[in-house]
């Protein structure tokens, strides 16, 4: 059965360019960029991502604006409460309801991309609103894959799963990149590589980013995230926290450039969830990502030409 699953292939993906995760306070400004009659030049390659769970409402301005955004830009749904890594045979009512709400939104808005995290966040009766780690064991891998299968079945399409930020070393039987690649292989999902998470895992737990990037199959990587982090005031050298509350760090920009070189051009998304600055400020950061991406696109194109001429 498993071998028959459709496998994610980034070459088939229609998403490209650079996006921003969209906050309600920026709906109007975002839409003004779509207005072709406006003096402002269109922004090429712009797309938006939203947290799926924020749209679990029956109507009102949120869904209205989301529809307007979806009518004008490519839209991606990024789930934060899917808890793929705590799959149980008999799902809690909470899980069943959650999946049916995600499925309803996917059906209504038909986003270009749907993603979730390779973590867990709900137990039988409680939702712990954070992304908790999985030990990289064969059992956890099986559980994660079943969680991905159930999610994909519910929405009728494949998803991307995102690498976590590591703060401690949990017991493991395999490297994180191998763990995620295996999950992707078994489920037909793709990978969302968060290079800020990767950088923090490197700083926090000495995970080797170069080795990590080499272990990834570029065809399976469908999207890249960048974001800012916070330094824990009590452990400034040892504990960096994935806060999405600051601009992207220079070291993360460098890692993004490396990732684009290794993996080829991929759609890049700027995440910002806290201390949210003006839309213009976010767009400046987003434009920097777009320029990097365009440069990597050209480099890849040139190297392909070079191969063709050789």
């Amino acid at each position: 059965m498993k071998s028959q699953k459709v496998q994610f292939d980034s070459k088939q993906s229609t998403l490209s360019g650079a996006g921003v995760n969209l906050k309600p306070q920026h709906y109007e400004e975002a839409l003004s960029l779509a207005d072709s009659s406006a003096q402002t030049k269109a922004t090429p390659g712009l797309w938006f991502e939203v947290h799926t769970e924020n749209y679990f409402v029956r109507g009102g301005p949120r869904l209205h604006y989301l529809q307007a955004i979806a009518n004008n830009f490519p839209l991606s749904f990024h789930g934060v409460g899917g808890s793929l890594g705590s799959f149980t045979e008999k799902p809690a009512d909470m899980t069943t309801r959650h999946l049916s709400q995600v499925a309803g939104l996917v059906k209504r808005f038909n986003p270009v991309m749907v993603s979730e995290h390779a973590t867990w966040s709900t137990s039988q009766h409680a939702y712990f609103a954070d992304l908790m780690p999985l030990p990289r064991t064969e059992q956890a891998l099986t559980c994660l894959c079943e969680g991905i299968d159930r999610y994909q079945e519910a929405i009728g399409r494949s998803i991307l799963i995102e690498n976590p930020t590591n703060y401690l070393d949990f017991v493991s039987e395999m490297d994180e990149a191998d763990f995620l690649m295996e999950a992707v292989r078994r489920t037909g999902a793709g990978l969302l590589l968060d290079v800020n998470n990767l950088y923090l895992s490197y700083r926090n737990t000495a995970l080797d980013p170069k080795h990590y990037l080499e272990a990834l199959d570029p065809a399976k990587v469908g999207e890249i995230h960048i974001a800012g982090f916070d330094v824990d005031p009590n452990f400034p050298n040892d504990l960096l926290i994935d806060s999405h509350a600051a601009p992207v760090d220079e070291a993360v920009w460098e890692l993004l450039a490396t990732a684009l070189t290794k993996l080829g051009p991929k759609p890049v998304l700027l995440e910002r969830d806290d201390n949210v600055p003006s839309f213009d400020e976010l767009m400046q950061e987003r434009n920097r990502a777009y320029d990097l991406l365009t440069a990597s696109n050209n480099t890849e194109h040139e190297s392909q030409l070079a191969v063709a001429h050789a």
């Binding site: 705590s86 009512d93 899980t95 609103a129 030990p135 064991t137 070393d169």
Partner: protein, 269 residues
């Protein structure tokens, strides 16, 4: 080789326990390396912070009223007492439903922090308004009965009195113990006037969504009876006679025109 003989559900159980209580020892067996086990607090702090932020966006007037520090203290205690039972924070802290049986934020205060409720007895009214406002905002506004439709129906010879009229889904009728709507609006949307008096006075307010915004209106007694009856799926006729029992001068045709104009009516489907 690390010890990986544990089951994945053992791991999830220990972690769940930690998230609920902060007790981290049972997680030690799942860790490797030399990093302090106390770093696990990143997860618990992240969860508490996000859940409290969820409550802040659901009860914004209460945040202004109490100030952020005090609100957060109460909110943290609530999160520990009643972790979210839905994987979204939209609606966290509101009244229990079949799907989300948690005690509400206010019920928690009533049973666990009675001294807070004694000090601020009108906090329940603030919570009622917060919940109703947000629910009205996030409700579907489809199916509003328009003047054109009514004119069509009249032209076709339909008897308006026979129509299965109801209030639209986004309408919320809120019964209050205090005359608190003005203070709540100030807390929610603008400057608070110093020395605002809060009188004990039962009253009824209706919220509804129109053009993607929430409208508010304080109701007269008979109007309130009428709206509550409609909300409880009584027919227009039954609601009218209940209102007439309350006030013999109740004029349903004027009210009908007002409701139609306010886009508050729909036809039962």
């Amino acid at each position: 080789m690390p010890d990986t003989t544990f089951t994945h559900s053992d791991y999830l159980d220990s972690f769940t326990q930690f998230m609920k209580t902060g007790e981290n020892e049972p997680l030690a067996t799942y860790l490797e390396g030399a990093r302090p086990i106390g770093f696990l607090n990143v997860y618990r702090n992240g969860y508490l912070k996000a859940s409290v932020a969820g409550l802040e966006s659901n009860f914004p007037a209460l945040v202004t009223f109490w100030g952020e520090d005090y609100f957060r203290q109460v909110a943290n205690a609530y999160v520990d007492y009643a972790p979210p039972n839905s994987a979204t924070l939209v609606g966290y802290g509101f009244d229990a439903t079949h799907d989300e049986p948690n005690p509400s934020f206010f019920e928690f205060m009533q049973t666990q922090l009675p001294e807070v409720v004694a000090q601020f007895p009108y906090v329940i009214d603030i919570c009622r308004l917060e919940q109703a406002w947000l629910q009205a905002l996030n409700e579907s506004s489809e199916g509003v009965l328009t003047l054109e439709t009514v004119q069509d129906l009249i032209a076709r010879g339909e008897d308006l009195a026979e129509l299965p009229l109801q209030l639209i889904d986004s309408s919320r009728v809120i019964e209050l113990d205090y005359d608190i709507l003005p203070l709540w609006s100030q807390l929610r949307f603008g400057e608070v006037n110093e020395g605002q008096q809060i009188e004990v006075q039962t009253n009824t307010v209706i919220f509804w969504q129109r053009d993607l915004q929430v409208q508010a209106k304080q109701l007269m007694e008979a109007e309130a009876v009428f709206m509550k009856s409609l909300k409880q799926n009584e027919s227009f006729d039954a609601a009218t006679s209940m209102a007439l029992d309350m006030d013999e001068n109740f004029d349903v045709s004027t009210l009908f025109a007002e409701l139609l104009n306010a886009q508050l009516l729909k036809l039962e489907n």
